[in-house]
Structure formats: C-alpha cells, structure tokens
Point group: C2
Chain length 695, copies 2
C-alpha cells in the first residue's frame, strides 16, 4: 500500500466512522446510520451535530474534535456553504478521509467548479482525502463498512465484484441489480465529481485488495488518463478483469454529461480503442455490465479453445442460441463425425447430435443424460467453454429434482474438464437458496439468461490481453505542409508513396513522363493552392510528349489565371494508376488519450459509410491487420469479382508507417491524412497526403 492510498484505505477499511451533520430529519443520515447497524459494522460510529443532543437515539458530539477519539472516516452531510468549516473540524480531529455528499459544485458550471476547487484545496491543506462531492458514498461489503446514504441490504456471501461508479445513483442501481442476481459485491464506490480522489486511484487500490475478482466501472469521463491506464493494467496484472459501461456513444450524451458533471466526454471510438489496448471489456447496459463482470470474475481463462459447447433441454432454445451466438461472435463448432457418433451413443433416440445440443425432454426422466452429453461435447478440442441452459427455481420445494439435475450437469462439466457454467433461459432473479444450491452442487450459475450470457461470453472470449504501448518514434522536427512535402515526408518515414517528379519546365515534364514509360498525371505544385482540381490544376491519363507538354502549359496558365498571387513550384509528374482498392488512413489527436488512427475504405465511401476502424498509436502490424479485418467492406480486399487479393501485409505495413510518421510530427500535428492509399495485389501507394497543424 503506497502512502497515497492510505486515505482511501481509511475510507474503505475504517475502524471508526463519524456521520457529520447527523440528524433524525435527514433521510440520508437515517439511511447511513441504519446501514451501519444492519451490516453489523464492528468499529466505532460517532454522530456529529453542531447542536449536540440525541440523534438516532444516541448522544451526538458537537464536532469531530469534540469526539475525543481517533476517527478514520467521516461522512459529511452538511450544506455546501458549511463544508470549509466542517473540513477545519476534520483537521482538528485528524480525520484521514471524508465523503462529501452535497451537490451544487462542478455539475452546475463554472461557479460551482470554483467552489469545488476551494473545498479540494481546504481538504488538501487539512491532510484529508475526499470522495465526492455529489456522490452517495462508498461501501466495503467484506469489512461490513458501509458509508452510504441510501438503504442497502446485507452483504451476500462469497462476493467477487467491485463496483466503481462516477454516478452514485447508477452505482446504487448496479449494486441493486447485482443483488437481485445474487452476485456478491466486495466494494461499491461512487466517486461523484472527483474533486480529490479519481476513479483511477480507486481502481489502483482495488487492484491491491484480495477480495475483488473483477472490477465493474460506470464512467462519465476519465480525468487522469495516464493514471487510469496504469491502474487498469495493475488490475489486470492482479488477475482482475475490468468491465466498463461508459456513456458518450451518442452525440447527445456529450451535452447531457456537460449538464451533469461538467465533464468533457472524450471521443467515444477512441475510448473503445483504448479499451481494446488495455484488455478492458466495454459493454452497453447496466445488465450487461453486471452479467459480464460476474462471468468474468468466476470463469477464468486461459480457455482451452475459442469454441462454446452449449446444451439445453429444448430444441427451440438451441435455435435461439444459434442465432444469438452468431450475433455475439461466439463460435459453436459443429460436431466432427467422430463426435457425432459418440453423441449418438450417449443420447436418447429422439436427439440429434449437434452443437447447440438439444438433450430433449428425455433428460427430465434420466438426468444422467446431461452428464454424458456435456462430458462428450467437451471432448472436442476446439471447445473452451461448456454451458447448460437451465433455470434454478427460486422456491426450494422443487430442489430435490433440481439438485439431481445440477449434480448431473456438474459431473458432466467436471468430466469434460473445460471452463463451464449454467445459465438461465431468460434473465431471472436468483434467490439465495438457488445460489446456495448451485454452489453446493459445484456449478457456476448465472441468472443473466441466454442472451446476456452469450453476449458476455463473446466479449470475454474475444478480449485480448492488455498490450504494451509501443515506443513512440523520435520526433522528426519537420513541418510538412503541402501535399508534396507531406508525401515526401511519408516516403522518408517508410510509407510507400507514388513516384513523383517536380517539373519546372515543359521539357522537364516531358522527360519525366518519358522516364515513367506509362500514362501520367500532372498536378500543379503550390503551397498556396489547396483545391487543385477546381482551378484546373490536374490533368489525368496523359500519353505522349504532346499531350504531356500541352497539359503542362495549360495547368500553369490556368493556375496563374485563377490565383495570380500563388507561389508556384512547378508541376508534379506521376504515373497514372488504375484499379486497386482506395483506402483512407487518417490520424487524429484526442485531448485525453493522445494520438489515434482510423482506417477505412477511401474516396467518398469513408464519409458516406462511416466504415472505419480506430486504434490508438503507435500500431503494430498485427493491429493494422486486425483493423482491416474489422471493416464491413473487408471483402473488397480479398479480390472481389475476379481481381487478385490486395497484399494485406503490405497495406498493414503502410498503415503502421503512416501512424509512426504522424507520431514523429509531435503534438502540434492535428491530423495526417492519406486518401487514397491505393492498394492492390502487387502495390500499395499513397496517392495524396495532407498534414493539418495547430497553428
């Protein structure tokens, strides 16, 4: 435990807690006090009210200092105007950590943000670490230490998941849903406006705790990107997968988030790229977050294969599973002929060997069918996870039969030797008895239902391990501005660029064209002319000395007529290209996460179809190959309609080189765009390049 994390430790493993502003008239105070009682918190609880008197049936102190005992953590339920005074009292009492419940700070705009800074500075000066303001508190369930202002139910046994949420209400709903599913929570931390302690610090702390086996996050924004990345890597290194629900997928959310927390919502696709790099699983709903975190916390890889073997007591459910698995990118390998024969040997007459496998209603009469079916399915070497679809009812009046089923399933899982779990058919509340029964039978049970469990499984199986960030290239100390300078720079940085010769005279143009021995393109070369085509500054598909010479003269004449003041360097002569696939490659800079790169189909298509793949820079060749594979139009690279396939490796190398070239231009480069990057079976070439600078 670093010194820095001690304030958080005081809040999450307190020996004594003070409720400051405690009063019988406050629903927050009543709930917080009742939570401590219900949990059976073993430390000391102090009630503080400036007027003293009896609060919640106990004597209240008039200040923390007046308590006269050591206080680890304080819950400040005082109006915003009295916070500074309250913090002075914390200092006097040597309190180490405090939760600030109050709203009315940065979420209201600039004035509120200034007040928030004052509070944070006062706390820093007082040596008090702060959670909040504008939060609901934090809870350590395993230590039975709730500092939380809304009613909680008692902790569940064998908890595995820590919840960290910037929104207190959403954190409460995540816990609520987890409780319904009987998914045990180790910690629940709402960080609110993060005047002092950021979400990254909480993740860092949780990574060091033994209890959480996975971390579920709800994020509005990330205020400390470098620390966030380090904390997530630390969690992974400690074997704790991180699953995140982050708002910002819609344009409109950016506005809502500003209204709510004064946050800057970063570019959403870049955040997804970051998640991929960090091995973080990103989900889209409260339900998915908890179902995924639960499975990820209990279904530990590495998995023996990417495939899933799924069995159910219903053919219809198997069909639904097949559709949903395809949607979720979960592989369901069809049985080999040998496996099919083996399955026939263990199944009832009415069953058809398949995956998903319908064991049919015959299993109702003969539960051992489930064991045999599951053990046999798992012999397939492609299988990494085995699943049975089955509901454990809430009532224990049926648990005799259910126990027989679960025992048979458990034996089948054990004989199969693969990672395994039972899922309910649809999302179903799990009773305490059902969870206990599953544990007694040695079965991992999720009430997430087939749909959510398959979605979760798809994400878990395809989550890549965190990747190291590559070394950024050395700064190039150049500032290419024109198309020509940009392409020349790209060429020097190892990106393939179409050959080009600058011709200053008609004779030079003709000579350059002859040397190319092919149809050529002529383009005006001028730093002052952005839109070359519009002023007649481009001529295509020229063959022969006369055509080239005439085009040279015409281009210069048109350029001078259109823009008499433009500085003209001459005319560029390049070979004319035809065929191939036009790609788009562009870099951008995110204020939070740094440089990123997008790849898509080029020409007008990139904007019309929005078919791009995004990653943070720098890239590896594998990253670039993966990006190409992600494009909806990836089939165009495979030699569509008789054309030979594009050289994907060469294309990937070109993309990596463009990314590195952008990085080498440093942080004042806004964007480096190559469009088109023309790719074919035997050649990849940048035909046009554009560098945009922040100046």
């Amino acid at each position: 435990m670093t010194h820095e994390l001690e304030g958080l430790a005081a809040l999450l493993s307190p020996r004594s807690i003070a409720l400051v502003g405690a009063t019988d008239r406050s629903i927050w105070s009543l709930a917080a006090y009742e939570n401590l009682r219900r949990f059976g918190f073993e430390g000391r609880v102090h009630l503080v009210n400036p007027k003293g008197g009896v609060v919640h049936g106990r004597e209240a102190a008039t200040s923390c200092a007046a308590v006269g005992e050591e206080i680890d953590a304080a819950l400040l339920m005082v109006p915003e105007a009295r916070l500074i005074e309250a913090i002075a009292d914390l200092k006097a009492a040597k309190v180490r950590g405090a939760v600030v419940l109050s709203s009315g700070f940065a979420e209201l705009g600039a004035e509120g943000a200034a007040r928030q800074r004052s509070v944070a500075e006062a706390a820093r000066a007082a040596g008090v670490r702060l959670i909040g303001p504008n939060c609901l508190g934090l809870v350590n369930f395993t230590a039975r230490a709730p500092i939380w202002t809304v009613a909680l139910r008692r902790p569940l046994p064998n908890p595995t998941i820590a919840i960290v949420s910037q929104s207190g209400a959403v954190g409460g709903q995540l816990w609520n849903f987890a409780y319904q599913q009987r998914v045990g929570v180790t910690h629940l931390v709402s960080t609110g406006n993060e005047a002092d302690i950021h979400v990254a610090e909480v993740i860092d702390y949780l990574a060091q705790q033994p209890e959480p086996r996975a971390i579920a996050l709800f994020l509005e924004t990330v205020r400390d990107p470098e620390r966030f990345k380090a904390a997530v890597r630390a969690a992974h290194a400690a074997g704790k997968p991180v699953v995140v629900l982050k708002i910002g997928a819609s344009e409109a959310t950016a506005r809502a988030a500003q209204a709510h927390t004064g946050s800057l919502v970063g570019n959403d696709r870049i955040f997804s790229a970051l998640c991929r790099r960090l091995g973080v699983i990103r989900v889209r709903s409260v339900e998915e977050l908890m179902v995924t975190a639960d499975l990820a916390s209990r279904l530990k890889g590495p998995f023996a294969g990417r495939g899933l073997a799924l069995a159910a007591m219903s053919g219809g459910m198997c069909e639904i599973a097949t559709d949903q698995a395809e949607e979720d990118d979960v592989l369901l390998p069809a049985p080999t002929p040998e496996l099919a024969a083996a399955l026939r040997g263990v199944l009832s007459d009415f069953a058809t060997p398949a995956n998903p496998l319908d064991v049919t209603g015959a299993a109702m009469l003969e539960p051992d069918l489930m064991r045999r079916a599951l053990a046999t399915l798992a012999t397939d070497s492609r299988i990494g996870v085995t699943t049975f679809v089955f509901d454990i009812p809430a009532q224990d009046d049926q648990h005799g039969t259910v126990r027989r089923f679960l025992t048979s399933i458990s034996q089948g899982f054990a004989e199969g030797g693969k990672a395994s779990f039972v899922t309910s058919h649809a999302l179903a509340a799990v009773s305490a008895e059902a969870r206990a029964l599953a544990e007694a039978c040695g079965v991992l049970y999720s009430g997430g239902g087939l749909r959510h469990c398959l979605t979760a499984l798809g994400r878990i199986l395809s989550a890549s391990p965190p990747r190291e960030e590559g070394a950024a290239p050395r700064l190039a100390e150049e500032t290419p501005r024109t198309e020509r300078e940009t392409l020349d720079y790209l060429g020097r940085m190892g990106a393939p660029v179409i050959p080009a010769t600058l011709a200053c005279t008609r004779a030079e143009a003709v000579g350059a064209a002859r040397a190319l021995d092919a149809p050529v393109v002529l383009k005006i070369a001028s730093r002052d002319i952005q839109h070359k085509t519009e002023i007649g500054g481009v001529a295509l598909n020229l063959i022969g000395d006369d055509a080239v010479g005439a085009a040279f003269d015409a281009i210069l004449a048109r350029a001078r007529a259109a823009m008499p003041d433009a500085r003209i360097d001459g005319v560029i002569v390049s070979p004319m290209r035809a065929g191939g696939v036009e790609m788009f490659v562009g870099t951008m800079r995110d204020p939070q996460w740094g440089a990123a790169i997008a790849v898509g189909l080029g020409g007008v298509w990139v904007e019309a179809l929005k078919d791009t793949s995004t990653r943070l820079l720098p890239l590896t060749e594998d990253d670039a190959l993966e990006m190409l594979q992600e494009l909806r139009g990836a089939a165009l690279l495979d030699g569509f309609r008789g054309a030979p396939p594009v050289d994907r490796m060469a294309l990937a190398r070109a993309i990596v080189a463009i990314g590195n070239a952008a990085l080498a231009l440093g942080p004042t480069l806004v964007s480096l765009e190559v469009n088109p990057l023309l790719a074919s079976a035997d050649r990849v070439e940048a035909l046009d390049g554009l560098a945009v600078w922040d100046d």
Copy 2:
C-alpha cells in the same frame, strides 16, 4: 366463430378434459393433473388408462368411450405407436380436440414425417382437431383451463398477452419470464410440429377473443403463409399488436431447425420485410419479446408525437438513456427555450432543464417535483410518450414512500396527457405487491428496465400500420432473356432505360452515334454471349465516326473469333454516361412469401458491403423512398462532396417500375436484376438488365 375454429375452441375453452394415458408413473401426467387442480378448473376432468384402476387418487376409465360423458378436449400422453388406436377411441367418444405430446415425428426426418401424416389423416377422418405432436399443450388462463404437462403457477390478474410458440419449451420459458415480470398471460399455446392446427389458425382464433390485447409469437417456420398473413391482419384489425421472435437470422440456424422440426427456414430478410408490411414487431430475444408485447398491449397508440420525454432521479441514468435511445432510434427532443424556462420554474436549483431530465435527489424530499417535471415535459408537442425511471421494490415495507412517489408520477402523467409508463432502472423481477401498487396508483409499470423498454419503445413507435398488398400487375406474357430484351421490356413497363439502337452495319452504328451527339458505348448484341467484356464485346467512350466505326468492326470480329457459333444480332449503340450513383435493384422469389425486391448501392459494393434494403412486392413509391433511406450509404444520394443530390423521387419510381416488371413476368421468373441503375440529379437510367428464368 367459424366452424373451422370450433376444434380449437374446444381445446381452449373446454368444459371437460380427458387425460389419456394418465398414470402416477408419468411426470407429465402428474404435472397436467396438478395444473388443473391448482388453477381450479371448473369443468370435468377424466382420467383414462387402458388398465383402469386408481390414478392420481381417482378412478380411471379404460377409454374415452368408456367415460360415457361428453369430452371436449383430450391430452394424449401415449407412445407414438399407440396414437392411431387412441384417435379411434376419441372418435368413438366424439372428442373434438386433442393435444399430442409425443415426440418422434417429423422432427426426426422423412420416416417420422410419414408417421405424422398418418396420425393427421386418422384425426381428420375421426373429426378430431390436433395440436402437436411434439408440443407441451395449451392453456387458457382466463378460463382456468390448462392442458399443459409442466408445472404452472396460478394465473395472474388482469392478463393482457397471448403467447403462441411452435416450441413447447420456449413457450414455457416465455410464460415463465412473463410471470417473473408479473405480466399476465391470457393464453399459452404450443403448436409443436403442426400436423393439423398451424400457428396461423391459433392467431386467427386469438384475434377473435376479447382477452388478449397483444400476441407474442415464437416461430421456427410458417407453414401456411397466406393464412398467417390473414390472421396477423385480423389481429391488428382487432387492435392486438403482434410481436414475434423468429429464429433463422443465422446460417447455422437453418441447419439446427431442420434437425429440430424438419422445418424449412425461409429467407430471414424477407421475413423481416413481411413483418414490416404486416405491421408486426420483430424482436431478438425472449426478454425483448415479452417486454415489448407487454408495453404494446398496454401503451396504445396513436401517439401524439414520435418523441419521448424521459425523467429520472439520476443524471448518470439520463446519460445512459441518451446513449441507448440513439441506438434504439428513439427521439428525445431537446427542450425549446420556452420549455426550458418553464422547467426551470418547476425544478430544484440543482437541476438542469433537459430531456432526459434529471429531477435530482431533491425529488426524494419533495415528490411533487416529479409531477411538475413530467407535466411540464409533456407540454412539448413533439412528445408522444412520457416515461419515468423508477424501481418499485419487491418488499412492501417501503411502500408508504413508494406510494407517494408513484402518486406524484401518476398525477404528472395525467396532467401531461400523453401515453406514459414507469420503467425500472435495470431488468427487475416484479412482485405481486409491486404490480398491485402500480395499478392502485394508476401507473403502467414495466420491470423490463431502461434498456429493454427503450428498445421496445423504439420498435412500437416506429412500427408502421399494416399495409395493404397492392394489386399485382397483369402478366406480361413475355420472357425477355438477353440484356437487350430485358432492357426493352423494362422500358415498356415504365422503367427508365438508357437509349439504345441496334446497329447491324458499321454505317448504322455511326449514324446512331451521330444522332446521340455524345461519346458512345458499343456492346455486342447476342443471346448467346453472357460475358461481353471478357470476349472484347464492349467499347467505351467513343467519339467521332472513325472511332465508332472501327469499334463496330473490332467488336464483331472479336465476338466471331471468340464464339463462332453465337447468334449475333448486331451491336448496341448507347450514350456514354459518367457520374451519378450506381444503384443495384434485384428481385427474387421466396418459396414461402413470394416475390421480393432488394435495393442497394451498385457495382462491387452491393456484395462487399451487403448494404441492401429488402421488401416484398409490389412496392409503393413510399416503400421505395423508405428503402433508400435505410441504406447505410444513403448519404451518397444527398449530393456527396459537392455533387447535386440524386432525384430520389425519380429513383423511387424506377424501383417501383422494376418491381412491377418482375411481378408481371410471373412465377417462373427467378430474378430480375438491374445493375447499375445509374441515378443522378437529373436522370435515372437502367444501364444493364438481367432476367433469370426457372427452366
């Protein structure tokens, strides 16, 4: 009630039920008997066992005939080999309807299908209508008449949804999930292999019943397309929305479904097109099916607007709602300045006027905030539905507070005057007390959670009313085969086609080109030459008599050299086109649903990007416009990068004409394809056409 539906009426509203094959050793028999007892079925229940004796504690008859009383419905729990004998007994006893539980029929392949036909024929001869085989039975909850072989819980009050499922187990799971959500079910019918009664007939029957207010379907296949369409239309006409979960979205499902029920899984996209035409809402999971059917049954349109006003007691939840609404195509109109001012007047200081609207935790202390906020939000004329996000807890110990909140919400909804509902934050089981409390407060409550409710709402708000099928055009009695014949035919049918002249001599070709006064294209005209380009049968961009004449000679020479036996009609002369957007239009014929049409971006893109929109034929112009809008690449039609926008109306008219032209060619036409259909601001033209015949 038509005479035909009387057999189904006997099964769904029976006055007397016989359990045939009843025995204490069968879990099915035990469950079926116990269900009748638990429901308090008011008619007569007869137990039939060939050995007589005491079954389930009662005297059993040795046959239905031996019962000596009128029997409306029989549940046949006898082995497949004894079914014919059992049906003879039903005939003797004048039983009108029977459920066949047994498996071992068409789902096992050809032999099983033959056995199934024998059973169906025996039943028809005996005047007995059959449900099944390979099903779990059917239940009329409002009549307390369960004929169902798995344990059911007692009916819920105020049911609204009928469930029809081809899979018995899936039907049971749908009911199970509905029960957890306290969504009342009126009927549950599993149709199994549909040897006699098809799902269409059940829908038809339910459309005529007063109780169901919506119908939820699980389909593997549709065996009687015309009747299905009529039944769904009848349900809509009776004000009962139809929501369907149909498998077959994946390639693999087609195989699984064959293994399971011997079904033919039709083309999935055509089924989606059918749903759109019929006004059927298609969903993707068990959860979505029941959440959507529940909302559709209780949230009746027409709606005052397409927009949703959403409020919650959490800014974080509002942000999540914003993201999810965008994904689900639900509009959340931002408040106008006037509305924002009005909201400021009714909200707490810490709240920001917005939609979604965070009423903040202040509403905990002052529930009337919710009323004021909801009533004010609903004044926006764009709003059709108003929603509050709030969980009604399962336990009634908090119901005093909760009742105050719900009453305030209910008043806000009523004052707002728009369709409205409360949704839980995440998917949550609903207790009987919670449902009763919501009803007592006059609030429509769904435990489906924000995610599922927004998805459902998006589908409900965008579901179009069922559309009439247009009249099919008169048969054309033509069989165009060559490109030329196809384009000429399209032209006669009102589709715009590029001008073309057949030239048989060089002089004719030159004359035709001169008449066009533009660059021209020459193409070989021969019914025997499919791949014109490959044999050098096409020449592009020809200008001037010499170029045209030379190309004419060269094309003929190359064609004769490449295919000496080909019948050559001459050479087609057409103007050369450049620019515009290449579209693809193609028709196909689905064995179940008839002729359909797909529209996409043309060229190689249609196959690489799979960006197409599909509809059944015939089309209206509005259909065609809607198809264009659905394309991911629709932006390309809006004048991308400075080009003027495509004339969408002219394009839509061309698509309608192509569809009608395909229909007029009758059922032996496999496909009529136009690729490209070139569209620009001032011209839409078919450049190439292909008709494929089934011969």
